[in-house]
Each structure stands twice: as structure tokens, then as C-alpha cells.
Symmetry: none
Subunit: 192 residues, 4 copies
DNA sequence: CATGAATGAGCTTTCATTCAT
DNA sequence: GATGAATGAAAGCTCATTCAT
């Protein structure tokens, strides 16, 4: 019966996210509103404070290893599975990592207690997956924590480079890299 | 040799760094001055602007692989060398990484052109070192870029976890981890 | 005779009055509308501006001494009449005084010219009444202005205390007070 | 050693008080600063918030009956003393009353608990004085509360009229009034 | 006519920076 | 050089008012 809503909250969040990620928490709400094509008043109608807007725009996606692999893997191919997982992690981290960094660098008061920002989840997910593969006899026994950290760390670092150099690797580069990583993880570079 | 009445620039920088790293670029110059025990006037006598102070306090250390290893390694022990290198990288990254993240998250205008913030240096250093080891026949031929990225990435990620969880690993945990990483890199987890 | 769908202007005014009196002119129109159970749009359909709403809600009641006494007094009893008048003034002032104070403390531009806010009326009314009583020989000749001011002032002050202490006197306290006041006015405390 | 203070806090308070009293709490801090001839920044250097400034500028003076009379009265002249007291009350109320009204009409959160805003003090002071006079046998026994309320109320109302009509009575008018009041209080208008 | 989404002007407040000593 | 008072531009936020339905 009243004037219909014309402003899309998601559009605001995308605009804010883009600006925050590019220029830091110090971008002004005025600029966010202007870029989103709305008035500052409308911005604050949706989000009660700049901090809330910031936190909402930096919402962290999660990554469920089992769900992700369950759909895509051929059960018996460990190396293939790990390659798929590596690529999935990359895509996930390309979204999550810049937000985590932004949140960490602008420790709004209420952020501290947010456990979702913690990095443990993904590590646990990968570790659990590995241990299941070991139990199933499809993988040699090994320190799953070290393996998981190395896999994730290699992906994190790859994305990290992309962020800092502001250049995204091509699909080919990426595939070469992930395959190299998985290969090294499984076989090392030295024949023992 | 009496205590100089002038203010130690390094003390200012340390104070500023601590505050910036903990609370982000938005800490006020007033608070920095107060914490450093000086007046705001003095702060601006030393640094012409907050941005300059920020950049100075986030000065990025560099890591010269050759220098570092030259002093500490026994030439023939590749695995030992890599372990030393890994620990050295960790210590280096514990200082550098939070600053890089802070710089990336607060891209002051003048920062863009600063190549020192780029992550290529260390990658090149490690790659060069690896290729020399390969040329010297002390290491199997391999994709040095992937190897370097994995080594660095594993360390980056380890420090990353420490930053996010605000808990530093013990020396023992760290040694176990670095040795695990190097071992996997060299030999993998699967016997081929 | 079903409940009308339209909004009762008087209910709005009562809500607004209550809020204005309790919290000052700074209460927001949003809160007034919410408290009244209507939309802000409807509020502004009724009152073209917040100021108009404020002025309307602070509408000052008047007090016609003659009308008031005409119905209630026994003609020959001066002291009784004055007691009735005193109580009537009290009840009147309990409504008028807080509004006058609110209007005075928030001198909306257009208020200045509003003579109704002036306090002269009641003073004149009481003075006229007193002079009639004197002419009728039911009261000694005296300075009717001083008498009127003292009577009114005593009541104003009594209400004033109630406002500031946010506690309304009981009926008994009130009667004791008004009778004391009238007695002093008529006979003083000293035998001359 | 540093730049000397050039802004007088009292001047700020006077400016703020004048504007608040004339236009209500809604005068902007910008206008207060401009009128005081200082920057808004300086205003907030002195007062951490507009509310604090408001409260400070509405600081309520107190009136110590004994101190006041102690210096000015000839001990044995009750009526003379009361006349002096009445004038003193008037002068006091001309300052206090508008501030009390302003405070009451803008009930800043923290104001509620401020007992100084309460009107009891002066009432008690006058009552105590009267009871002492009664004990000393210089005044007939009477209801000191009613007497005090009437004296104060008459003065409050007189000032009230001045406030509302924005016209201050002349000294002569004032003296005539106070003397009339005291006379009525002591002797009434009727011979009993 | 009632609604509440949208607005934008204006508010209080902050803060990097300058300046007089 | 060190100080901290003073500044003013801009920030975050509010809110009376308008408008599309």
C-alpha cells in the first residue's frame, strides 16, 4: 500500500564491499551511497551504522569440503580429487581472503568474538577429508595436519600474490600450479 | 651522554606500528601521540602527515635468502638448509605479513606505486636459491616456482593462522611443522 | 457506528502532547507517529509540519473566572468563593503551566505573536472578580493586583513544585494549602 | 610553553546560555560557536557534547537565605526583613527560573537525578528562617510552609510574568509589589 | 486517505593539521 | 624543538518532509 521498495540491499552490499576492499574502511558513507546511487539517508535506513554495513559487506563465505567434493569427485582417484579440491579452495579463497584481511585490519569492536572469522574451519574440513581417505586406504598414512596446512597454505599464498599484485592468474597458470602442488604433496621432488 | 631531550623517532614508530596493527588506520594521531608520550605537535614535526607516519611505521623488512643461508648452513645438507630457511622465513613473515596486510587494507594513495610491498622479491630469492641447488646437483630437477610457492605459502599460512587466532605457536610446534613441510616437499607422502 | 478507519486527530494530539511534555521538542516525529500507532505519512497529512503539530498539541486552555464561579459559588461567602477559585486555578494551571513552559522554552518563530500564550488574561479575570466583590461591599478595599498576583502566584508555585518534583500533591494536601493561602490573604498572619 | 589559551570558557557559557534561553535547546552548536567567535572544534574541545554544554550553561545558582539576610537586615524589623528577602528572592529567581524552565523542558537524560534542580532548597531555607523568627517571638505562630510558599510563589509568578511578557518591571513597580505582598502576608486584606 | 520508502539538508562530533608561544 | 590550543573540513548520522503506491 505504501511506496514500494526500490533499493536492493544486495546492491548496496556489493557496492560497499567493492569500495571497502579497494580503499579500506576509511571510504566515506557518502561515497558509498553516491556510488550505489542512493542517498545517505537510505543507506542508514538499511544499516544502522557504518560498522554494521562494513561487517555485513565483509560477510565470510564458508567452504564445506565434503559437500564440495561429494558432487564432483570420482571416488578412487585421490590425486584427481585433490586437484579438484585445490581448485575449489582457490576459488573460495579468492572471495574469502580479501575479506578476512580487511576484517583483521579493521578490528571493529564487535568483531573479536566472531568465530566465523577464524580460519580453523577449513583446516579441519581438509584434515577430516584426508583422514577419511587414509582410513579408506586410498592414501598413505601421513601427518594430515601438515598436509592440510601445506595444501591450504599453497592456495592461500597463490591468492595472496594475486591480491598484492592486483593481477589474477589465468586458468592455465592456475591449473599448472595446483597440479604441481598436488604432485609435490603426494610424491615430493626427490625420489627417496 | 645524558639522556637526550629529543624524542626518539624509532620509539614513535614502534608505538604507531603497535597501534595501527592492533586497531587499524583509524587510530587517531592524538592517541598515537599520547601513547608515545609526546605531544601531537611533536608528532607532526617528525612526520608531515598521518599517512607518512603510517607508511613509515609499516616499513617492510626484506629477506635476502643468500645472505641468510650463507651464514648458517652447512653446504651439503639440502634438507637441513631448507629447514633453516623455513624457520627463517617464518620469523621474517611474522614481522612482514601483518604489515603487508595492513598496507593492503589501507591503500593510501601513494602506496600503489610502492613495489616494495610486492611479494615477488622473496619468491624470486627462494626460486634462485633452489635453482642454484639444482644446478649444483644437490637437488633433483623440479618446478622451482611451485616448490618455492609451496614452501613460502606453507609458512605464510602458518603465520596467517597465528595472526587470526592471535596465538603464536610454540617453538616445538613450529619445528615439527617446518620439518614436516620440508619433508613433504622433498619426498611427498606417497612413495611413487 | 463501526469504529472509523480514519485516525482521530485528538488522539494524535494527546500522544504528541504527552511526548513533548516529557521529552521536549526534540522528540522525533517518527516516535510520535509510532507511539500514536499511525504512519509518519498520516501524521503529516494531518499537520503540515512538526511545529504546527507542536503548537496544536500545546494549545493553551483559558480560564473564565466568572463562568467558573457563577456556577459554583454561594454568593455571599467571600472566603468560600476564594477557596473554590483557588482550587479551580490549581486544576487549570496543572494543565496550562507545563504547556506554557514548553512553549516558552521552545520559541518557535511563529509563537512570538501568539498573545494567547500571555499570562495577562487570568490575572485580569481574577482582578476583575476581586474588584466586583469590593464594589459589592463583600470585600475590603485593597490592591486587587497584588491580591490577584499573590493568589495566582501561590497556585502557580504549587503546581511548579509538582512539575519539578514529578509528584502531585494529594487532595488533602491541596485543600489544606489553598485554605491556608486564602486565609493568609484575607487575614494575614499578624493581628495588626 | 605552548600556545596560550585565548578562549574564555565563561564567555562560551554566557553565549550558549543566552542562545539557549532565547531559542531553546535546538540552537545549533554551529551557531553557538559562531556567536561566541570560535570554531566548532574549539567548542567541543571545551565541552565534550552539546548536552554537557547545555547543562553547564544552565547551571543553577542557589540562594542561602541566612547568608543573604545575615548581612543586610536589622534584626528587629520583621517586615523590613521580609521586604529585603522578597527583593532578594526576585533577583535570584530572575536568574534561576528561566534556567529551571529550560532544564525542565529539555530533560536531557542525565538531568533527572540532579537534585540541585529541585525547588525544595529555597523553600526549606525560607521556612527555616520563618520558624526562627517565630521562635524568637518576632512573628506570630503560623503555618510556615504556607507562608513560605506564598512568599516564594508570589515572587516566582512575578518573574514568570516578566519572562512571558518579555518585559522587566521597573524598580518602583517591583518595590510596590514586594511591599504589597509582604503586607498582605502579614496583615491580610480583611480586619478579622 | 494511509502507508513507509526515500530523501537531503543539517546536525553533532571527530580529527589531522597549524600555529603561537 | 616541544607544546597543546585552535582550527575547519569532513565525517557519521538524524530526521522532518515528500512521494509513489
Amino acid at each position: 500500500m505504501s511506496r514500494p521498495t526500490t533499493i536492493d540491499t544486495n546492491e548496496i552490499l556489493e557496492t560497499a564491499r567493492t569500495l571497502f576492499l579497494k580503499r579500506g574502511f576509511t571510504v566515506s558513507t557518502a561515497e558509498i551511497a553516491r556510488t550505489a546511487g542512493i542517498s545517505e539517508g537510505s543507506l542508514f535506513n538499511r544499516f544502522p551504522s557504518k560498522e554494521k554495513l562494513f561487517l555485513a559487506s565483509m560477510d565470510l563465505p564458508t567452504f564445506d569440503v565434503d559437500n564440495f567434493l561429494g558432487e564432483k569427485t570420482e571416488a578412487n582417484e585421490l590425486e584427481a580429487n585433490l586437484n579438484v579440491l585445490a581448485v575449489g579452495l582457490l576459488d573460495f579463497l579468492r572471495i574469502r581472503l580479501p575479506r578476512v584481511m580487511m576484517l583483521k585490519s579493521n578490528p571493529i569492536e564487535t568483531i573479536r568474538s566472531n568465530p566465523a572469522a577464524g580460519p580453523e574451519e577449513v583446516l579441519h574440513g581438509v584434515k577430516n577429508y584426508l583422514e577419511r581417505e587414509i582410513k579408506l586406504g586410498r592414501m598413505e598414512n601421513c601427518d594430515s595436519e601438515v598436509f592440510a596446512r601445506m595444501l591450504i597454505g599453497s592456495m592461500v599464498n597463490y591468492v595472496f600474490f594475486e591480491l598484492l599484485s592486483e593481477r589474477r592468474h589465468s586458468q592455465e597458470e592456475t591449473r599448472t600450479y595446483t597440479e604441481g602442488v598436488v604432485s609435490v604433496l603426494l610424491y615430493g621432488v626427490e625420489s627417496r
